[in-house]
Symmetry: C2
Subunit: 139 residues, 2 copies
DNA sequence: TGAACACTTGAGCATTCATTCATATGATAT
DNA sequence: ATATCATATGAATGAATGCTCAAGTGTTCA
């Protein structure tokens, strides 16, 4: 067995077949890091709100600050991140800078997340009822 | 104008029409928070790798620890988060606990992210070339 | 030229969070 | 019972990160 990985693992491996099969198909580390970084950008409520707003209309920094009730500085900092992540682009007009979403992907990622998020909410009540007696692992 | 929002905004609002139109359509704060929280879970490379692995096969904690070359404890902590977020479920078998993805949404969210992430990479070279002279805002 | 405004940016601060370490739980086997 | 193994978990630590504050850039307008 190749021991170049799994060094930190403080237990015996049980299912080598599965593990090696999965490892073979594993995307490059860099790919998954990139993916995580993308989601990280979506993982903040300020940025989510900015993105949502921009999915509705082009807006300048001031507009966003007012809409979200935050300082213009805070918004600007976040827009910087969003731009680095290539999720938004901007256009200058006089003193103002207008931001829009960079492409349709953003909306699509959004939508997928929303679907999951809402389905979860719907099931919330049912779940609450069963929670105590019916955990997959008894607590 | 209703001043109950936009208090922190330290600048005059320029585009009231747009802002109010967007505000009217704005989802409930709670909805967007929930969405951000969902993406937050995806926004970590360890969790992404766990999710990816589980999208390929059911695995126990040890398997994951070995596959990802991390301590069993670290994996376990992350699995706890993933379970709380309802992204994975588990099944006990003797001493072992096997984890799988909870539903197909996870894969779909994944895929959308991957599409964006990879498209970005493809454009990387082009972008690099133009970067210096052709920014939407001159730096 | 200089005042006003939209925006950006760097430093500082407080909070969040991922991992580690030590320990606990719970199952199996001897 | 006791030892062992898989897993879980609480506390601690160091790193990452969001916001604020103060200062800077660049544009318009007088």
């Amino acid at each position: 067995m190749n021991n170049s990985e799994g060094i930190k693992c403080d237990c015996q491996v049980i299912h080598e077949e599965v593990v090696f099969k999965v490892r073979k198909k594993m995307p490059k580390e860099e790919s998954l890091n990139q993916l995580a970084d993308l989601f990280k950008v979506f993982g903040d409520s300020t940025r989510i709100r900015i993105l949502w707003a921009l999915s509705e209309a082009e807006m300048c920094v001031c507009d966003l600050a007012f809409l979200l009730n935050m300082t213009q500085s805070a918004i600007s900092h976040q827009l910087r991140l969003l731009k680095q992540a290539r999720l938004v682009k901007n256009r200058k007009e006089g003193k103002m800078v207008f931001y829009t979403l960079k492409d349709a992907h953003v909306k699509r990622i959004f939508k997928q997340g929303m679907i999951h998020s809402e389905e979860k909410k719907e099931k919330e009540q049912d779940y609450e009822k069963r929670e105590k007696r019916n955990n997959s692992i008894k607590t």
